[in-house]
Symmetry: D2
Subunit: 149 residues, 4 copies
């Protein structure tokens, strides 16, 4: 497996994930090449991320004083996914700054083979001013604690 630059040591990187969620691949997410379309993993990363936030009681709400906005996102496709595959996506907060967090993702199939890896930063903003605002310290602590060391 070709290692993306956000993974230094694969075994160490894998071992830090403590949260995962099952993703149901939908028929409409395949394409005419017969496999899961390249856009779909970003849907799965978002689903895994919101499940992870939910597990930390961090709810996304359009009336909140601050909301997390995606600043960047990337995915490496290590193995094709097909309709019928069982996909588990792992999520961890790799780093947390004042108002931003760097989230890492790993997607494995039913044979525990890595199909997807990825990462992306979220920035916490005030939806009215669009300015970055500090993340809640308790939430940040919970996120960093959930990364096993």
């Amino acid at each position: 497996m070709r290692l993306p630059n956000y993974i230094e040591d694969l075994e160490a990187w894998k071992s830090e994930f403590t949260f995962s969620t099952e993703i149901k691949i939908r028929f409409s997410e395949t394409d005419m090449f017969g496999h899961v379309n390249n856009v779909s993993p970003f849907i799965y990363f978002e689903e895994a991320r919101t499940d992870y936030f939910n597990a930390l009681s961090y709810t996304l709400d359009d009336t909140s004083p601050s909301i997390p906005i995606v600043a960047d996102l990337q995915c490496d496709y290590h193995r094709e996914l097909y309709f019928g595959n069982k996909l588990t996506v792992y999520v961890k907060v790799n780093q947390a700054g004042n108002s931003s967090i760097d989230i890492h993702y790993m997607g494995v199939n039913e044979k525990d083979e890595i199909c997807l890896t990825g990462r992306g930063a979220l920035v916490n903003i005030d939806p009215k001013t669009k300015k970055a605002v500090p993340l809640d310290e308790n939430l940040k602590a919970k996120m960093l604690e959930s990364k096993s060391s």
Copy 2:
């Protein structure tokens, strides 16, 4: 062509459309059966509907005092669509009530063959109370005028 129950006379029905818009079929909207997935035409109907509204200067905005909500929607798939097809979707307001409108759709390919027909009602609601509110009379008049007779 099997005629859906919302079309009495096909030629008369077709002749009433005066608005149409070009839809770009996207690769990600195909599925592993090699054709456009059955969910995608509802994306196209929505795109055609918002283009039609835009042509009538009716803009969808989450700060408006009233917004149009889809009450029902249906599509008949008369001919498979493929990536690379040129799709034109026609839209007309078939009927307008006090707070609701019945919109009809027809999608044709580059050979002018009917691939999709459909319809669906929108209800104009107050987003705060979720109650139906009357449609603007000017807008309603413009919608009904745009249907050729």
Copy 3:
């Protein structure tokens, strides 16, 4: 609740469903009106339908001698859905012909309130000739048996 024309008696109609599946509403399936977009229920119907087929050991495969193609599809939106709602979609084969089946759907939220109802016909075709071909009799029998009477 306004009754669509494919439901005669709501209680009788509801009581015939024996299969259901949990659907995870995804954040990307909401829209700027704050609720689940009108396109998304068709994704859910397809997911429920393929789960139902899977439960009957009827697998969708692009190498099969025949594949089920959607002939028409409709949805009635009885109640808005939101991110965070728990959605259960029920599926039944309402009628089965020689090569086509009429499938009915009902989506309820965590309070067991009906949010979505729908139906649509599938036609079994030969993917090479695009002609309708008879459905497997055993499969058809299993589908009709799964509808409780």
Copy 4:
């Protein structure tokens, strides 16, 4: 604007694009935060890429002896996009190897402000063996020529 690591000099990077395509933002691609969802730019990148391929007479077909598979993909969100924005996506092949190409993307709004930048590698594979196969030399030459220097 924070510069991603795949852009050394922004003005030089921008000046190399010679191909662009208009993208229609769809209502269903917004989310409950009121803006375009973070998944949607990957749909736009794919649409821009297939338009670019089409302009080079490189057609994607599930019966081809070789098909381009996405190896990785990334997007930087520099400015929020909204329904109603006019989006133009620029595409260039930044580098071409034996069987893979590195494609860069830039999305600008109606004020010519950069909203999205991105990149991703495609690998040309034999769909039967899943092995990488060399790209057609003529196609590769045309791709590299289309990048202005």
